[in-house]
Subunit: 383 residues, 2 copies
């Protein structure tokens, strides 16, 4: 159930001293081989943190041997000194493990605009590398938490090969989260190009469809490392489907633990002309603060859903829109449907179904409600 | 200081019984002539309320003699019956005042997806039309309030002609508010085409730059009626500038009274390649929940500003961005500037200055912070 579930991986998490609390704050995940294929997906934000700049370069040749991650500081908007720090983190990891700095990806999460305490970080990396073990997945997953309240791990086993994964992220969005870090591992034997293809497709239908607060981070990173240790070569379709399942499981865990959330909301858009239309409509509703507050108030406010749908350029006729909350069709044909008081929003899970009556395409976007807790965490916690 | 400040206008506000509280909920503004030129700007939401559909048609010929407005119900997503109700409101007003229904615009605000109590509305219109007076501006401005805590009025007097205005709106955005209703009046003598031109320009730099929560309403309407009663014909430039001033004053009042706001935030973007770039950057920051929560927490979190800037397609180099909070440049060249603790965000007014270093264009977007009060109002109040 962790990044060390597949053969050929070791991990560790240590308390390096970045966090004043003394909690675990530094993780290393190492690929022991025999193969070192890798792929990555990064934030689309144009303001990118130093570790993202470094890791994009590192994975460009389709190969990684390790990932070093820290919480407690994002190393974003730190200029040339920040880039030097990211490079030093890769270098320290590479030195300890006997590889090149260019084989090591770097991920950071925490406050933007402050330098990392590099003495502590470097010494922490040394200790983590010594502790690397096949049992270290959980410690690594713990060390990347910020405002996360639980660790997020997933795994999939199938026909002799395995996928493992860990994630952190609280406020977040479309790999472009605030901050979402994900490390995926597999012992399947695949070429970098196959990993890249599978990773893009898997993130498109998972992390790209999870949107807690519409804010895109400077640090978001999803990395996939393949050791080939199982010796098995799954088909592209088979591997992509399995990877998609692991990513969807992690995305669901991220939304379930989003900052201050009282409700987990699945916005299912059906009858769309295209998948892109379905995604656009779902995202617009997921980003409506009025809608999100209504769900917090257990109010099946379909007017706010229609208002959000109406600002998109998706194909639809306003007089054809249907909206259901938890199975009750409160809006029919763009107008009044079943009585609102038939809807029960007292539970944590909310299902909003929007039928555009414009085609056969569909997509589900995951989001959360907007609560006092969200405001509190983001007013009192600097990130 | 009201819609009846210019010569040739009368107004009234009555309690028709739409609101269970017994508060004023229905207003009529009548143009007594001698001219009846008019222009309108409406929500760009594709889901539009019945009164918007009606009023767009009514003003299409550049002429209006009256506006009837109600709070307590948006008459949105009410299908054909809702359109019939909107038409009936225009018809009742026209009958009472001896004009054609097509000369009367209709504005509604309140909950989406419920019908208006037409018996009460019709009788209220009759009473309002009897009470029409040059002193009725304040009652009319009061009758259109929903969660507004104060009435919003403005006026401008210049060289023999006057502009007056009233507005309501709490959560809101770029004429696309939730719900923003504005009626502007003038006794200047101008053609409908001149009014249209002036109104588009004035809203572009006022209401279009006020964004409390990023949500666009189904009902937003800005109407401008000209009686020509002063006999004065101002120049286009003169009139547009004056109208812009009145609209900016009303926009500022709307933001100051936005739901739950603790801070009024002016986001000034300078050094942009184009005005559109400046607006896009300002709006993206204004819509960042993380930024808005930080301001509520009195945290000059420039990292969240840069994160928001980074998702736009505006021209900028991430290593050139400067950000100041209330005069302290906390971010310089995309990195760490002055210490955060030099910034004082304890006051209600917050000025965020973003320099893109990409040109000479500038725009200021007005917004508010995201507070417990916002969540409370929008979780407990259906709209």
């Amino acid at each position: 159930m962790s990044v060390t579930a597949p053969q050929g991986f070791a991990a560790a998490g240590v308390a390096s001293g970045i966090k004043a609390s003394g909690r675990l704050d530094l993780a290393v995940v190492a690929n022991l081989g025999p193969r070192f294929a890798a792929a990555g997906v990064f934030t689309r934000n144009r303001v990118v943190a130093a570790p993202v700049r470094w890791s994009r370069e590192a994975v460009a040749n389709g190969q990684l041997r390790a990932v070093v991650l820290n919480s407690g500081g994002a190393n974003a908007c730190t200029g040339q000194p920040g880039l030097t720090d990211a490079q030093a983190m890769a270098g320290a990891t590479a030195a300890a493990l006997g590889m090149e700095a260019g084989d090591v990806a770097v991920c950071s999460t925490g406050l933007i605009g402050t330098r990392l305490p590099m003495t502590e970080v470097t010494s922490g990396i040394g200790r983590a590398c010594v502790q690397l073990a096949a049992t270290g997945g959980e410690a690594a997953a713990t060390a990347i938490m910020t405002t996360d309240t639980v660790i997020k791990q997933s795994a999939h086993q199938d026909g002799g090969w395995t996928i493992g994964g860990m994630a952190k992220g609280a406020g977040m969005l479309a790999p472009g989260l605030a901050t979402m870090l994900v490390v995926l591992t597999t012992d399947a034997s695949l070429e970098p190009s196959a990993l890249e293809l599978a990773l893009r497709e898997a993130t498109r239908t998972s992390f790209e469809r999870a949107d807690a607060d519409g804010c895109m981070s400077t640090n978001d990173t999803v990395l996939l490392l393949a050791s080939g240790a199982s010796g098995v070569v799954p088909s592209q379709e088979e591997f992509t489907a399995a990877l998609g399942g692991v990513c969807q499981d992690l995305a669901r865990q991220l939304i379930a633990d989003a900052e201050g959330a009282n409700h987990e909301i699945a916005i299912e858009v059906v009858g769309a002309a295209t998948v892109r239309d379905a995604e656009v409509v779902g995202r617009e509703v997921a980003r409506s603060n009025l809608f999100k507050c209504a769900i917090f108030g257990a109010d099946p406010n379909w007017g706010r859903v229609l208002s959000a749908v109406g600002v998109t350029d998706a194909v639809f006729d306003a007089d054809q829109l249907d909206v259901s909350f938890n199975g009750v069709q409160v809006c029919r044909g763009g107008g009044i449907g079943e009585p609102r008081d038939l809807v029960d929003l007292s539970g944590r899970q909310v299902h909003v179904l929007i039928d555009l009556h414009a085609g056969d395409a569909t997509a589900t976007i995951l989001t959360t409600d907007l609560t006092y807790g969200y405001v509190k965490e983001n007013a009192e916690y600097s990130s």
